[in-house]
């Protein structure tokens, strides 16, 4: 260190120019109402492309639902859930809507957020104004959650139109799906903070999301899994979401609902905290 200033111990009280010690990236979130203009910015961009993106977002899950639900459903017939027998299409619909919310949130919080953060430098522009990184990240998290519930709502209406379920408890399922969107956008933002490029997200989808889809009771009951795998599977966030949403589709209240809500909430809170710390680290240059 060539400068006498920099080699002097800078923590002594005598040094009037000592900088405050660098705060930890793990400090509590510093959130203000300034997340709203950032959220609004994303909403305004999306509004320009909403209709084509909506068609894309709901067409794929519905094609799956119809092909599997009616095709496989004819082979499988009825399936047993909590002692009741339900048509396979209902079983699949209640699982796949959780999966759709998960995918919509993940795509938005990975590819789209990464474009704004890294490629377009939108975040850098925003942070030159009086908006902190924590508010930007909160806005991105809520935005991805919004995209997820928007997609899930559209699919829910189509499912109702197809007569898959007319349970009044679908209104409660809608709130659970908001939670699914938020939980998975928080998790995805961790990987957004770590990404060097878009290729990185392929790992997230193939190594994390795809296996989880098959281990969370979306396509077949968890009871089909070996006991050891099932012991892990019950702690996956998607499993807990499906366990809440499926009974609501059947017009029943989920058993031990508080446990599933707690698991999802713990995932969401921890994931947001880790995502915030890693994003702060990424921007600390």
């Amino acid at each position: 260190m060539s400068s006498p200033m920099s080699s002097a111990p800078s923590s002594t009280a005598a040094d009037a120019f000592a900088a405050a010690p660098m705060p930890s990236v793990w400090r509590a979130p510093e959130l203000t109402a300034r997340w709203w203009p950032v959220f609004l910015r994303n909403l305004l961009v999306w509004r320009k492309l909403a209709v084509p993106s909506l068609i894309g977002n709901i067409a794929e899950p519905l094609i799956w639902l119809i092909a599997f639900g009616y095709g496989m459903g004819a082979l499988v017939g009825q399936i047993e859930v909590n002692g009741a027998r339900v048509p396979y299409i209902l079983f699949l619909a209640s699982g796949s809507i959780c999966m759709s919310a998960m995918s919509a949130a993940s795509f938005e919080a990975l590819y789209s957020a990464f474009s704004r953060m890294h490629v377009q430098k939108t975040w850098d522009g925003i942070m030159n104004a009086p908006v902190g990184l924590d508010d930007v990240l909160l806005a991105e998290m809520l935005w991805a959650g919004f995209k997820a519930i928007f997609t899930a709502t559209a699919i829910l209406f189509v499912m109702m139109a197809l007569g898959i379920s007319h349970s009044p408890k679908l209104a409660v399922a809608w709130f659970v799906l908001i939670g699914v969107g938020i939980t998975f956008s928080c998790i995805a933002l961790i990987f957004n903070a770590l990404a060097k490029g878009y290729d990185f997200f392929t790992y997230y989808f193939t190594l994390f999301m795809t296996p989880m889809m098959f281990l969370s009771g979306v396509f077949f009951p968890l009871e089909q899994l070996p006991a050891a795998v099932r012991a892990v599977a019950v702690w996956l966030p998607l499993t807990n979401a499906v366990m809440l949403v499926r009974p609501l589709f059947m017009d029943e209240w989920p058993q031990a609902w508080w446990k599933h809500v707690a698991v999802m909430a713990v995932y969401a809170v921890l994931a947001f905290w880790v995502a915030l710390a890693l994003t702060r680290k990424r921007f600390r240059k």
């Binding site: 260190m1 060539s2 400068s3 006498p4 200033m5 920099s6 800078s10 009037a16 120019f17 000592a18 900088a19 405050a20 660098m22 705060p23 203000t32 300034r34 203009p37 950032v38 609004l40 910015r41 305004l44 961009v45 320009k48 377009q120 430098k121 939108t122 850098d124 522009g125 925003i126 942070m127 030159n128 104004a129 009086p130 908006v131 902190g132 921007f283 600390r284 240059k285």
Partner: protein, 308 residues
């Protein structure tokens, strides 16, 4: 001299073993344009990032704009700043007018508050006719002017401009300079980093020269040239020019430098040298007053810095 609007004291920033900003202090007076010049990697952008609270200094203080201190009052300071960063961060999906409205919201301004000002901001940026165009449809100069207009949405007291004209053609640069001079006339203060010495000479009332993160000179452009340089420069090139550097002609100059195929004679009075050169013939000469570029090269050397 009025009290400074912004001052930075004993700023240090290290990345691992490298010190990128080293005990840097400066002040910006109200209505003044302070230029920061230096080679690539001299610490200009890091200094601006610290002034914006985007990077935490290892040592030193950043204060101003009414007793505020960075990073404690980051939001209150940034509410009074206008920033044009080195690379455009315009929203590609929004038109020019929408870019301004959306950006104003980040300052807590409502649409009704900013909307009446949009035509004037666009006019300032000479973009009135392109209000509905998206940044991708604009030229580089237009995008930089839109970035400048965007930096004005909050009517800032102090502008921080990081190489605002890099990559622009001469017409676009001149238009940008006109706009910046207009802002100075309106009483705004500016902190400007630049690579262009003509830009620094034209706009800046005071300059600091940075190299390897240290301030190596500070003053008004004319004073700096007078302090560090001889007033006249004679550049000589052509066949046999390089031999002149070691010839008796040296006695006409206070200092002789060779760069590539050109010999630079720095002198108090060029007449004797020009006469002697005319007698030799066959060489091309260029006689001019010393300028900031000479100062910059004298202080920071002629070697290329490509690591910035």
């Amino acid at each position: 001299m009025p009290p400074p609007i912004f001052h930075v004291s004993h700023l240090c920033k290290r990345y691992g073993a490298t010190t990128v900003v080293d005990d840097l202090s400066f002040e910006i007076a109200p209505g003044e344009c302070l230029g920061v010049i230096g080679p690539n990697g001299a610490g200009k952008t890091t200094t601006i990032r610290m002034c914006l609270g985007l990077s935490a200094p290892d040592h030193g203080t950043i204060e101003g704009l009414g007793g505020l201190s960075m990073p404690r009052d980051a939001r209150a300071i940034k509410a009074q700043l206008g920033v044009v960063s080195q690379f455009d961060t315009l929203d590609p999906d929004f038109s020019c007018a929408e870019n301004l409205i959306v950006y104003a919201r980040y300052f807590g301004l409502r649409r009704a508050q900013i909307e009446p000002r949009i035509p004037r901001l666009l006019e300032f940026a000479a973009l009135s006719h392109r209000a509905d165009a998206k940044p991708g449809e604009l030229s580089g100069g237009m995008r930089r002017r839109l970035s400048l207009a965007r930096a004005l949405v909050n009517d800032p007291k102090l502008l921080m401009l990081d190489e605002p004209t890099t990559g622009l053609d001469p017409q676009a640069r001149h238009l940008m300079w006109e706009r910046l001079q207009l802002l100075l006339q309106q009483g705004k203060s500016i902190l400007l980093t630049t690579h262009f010495m003509d830009e620094a000479e034209r706009l800046c009332s005071r300059l600091i020269v940075l190299d390897h993160g240290r301030k190596i000179a500070e003053g008004r452009p004319r004073d700096l040239i007078a302090e560090y340089l001889e007033p006249d420069v004679v550049e000589v090139y052509g066949n046999g020019a390089l031999e002149l550097a070691q010839s008796p002609l040296k006695r006409f100059a206070a200092r002789v430098e060779v760069s590539g195929e050109t010999v630079f004679f720095y002198t108090q009075d060029a007449r004797g040298l020009l006469g002697a050169l005319a007698e030799r013939g066959g060489l091309r000469t260029f006689h001019r007053p010393a300028n900031l570029e000479d100062l910059f090269l004298k202080l920071t050397g002629r070697q290329i810095r490509e690591d910035g």
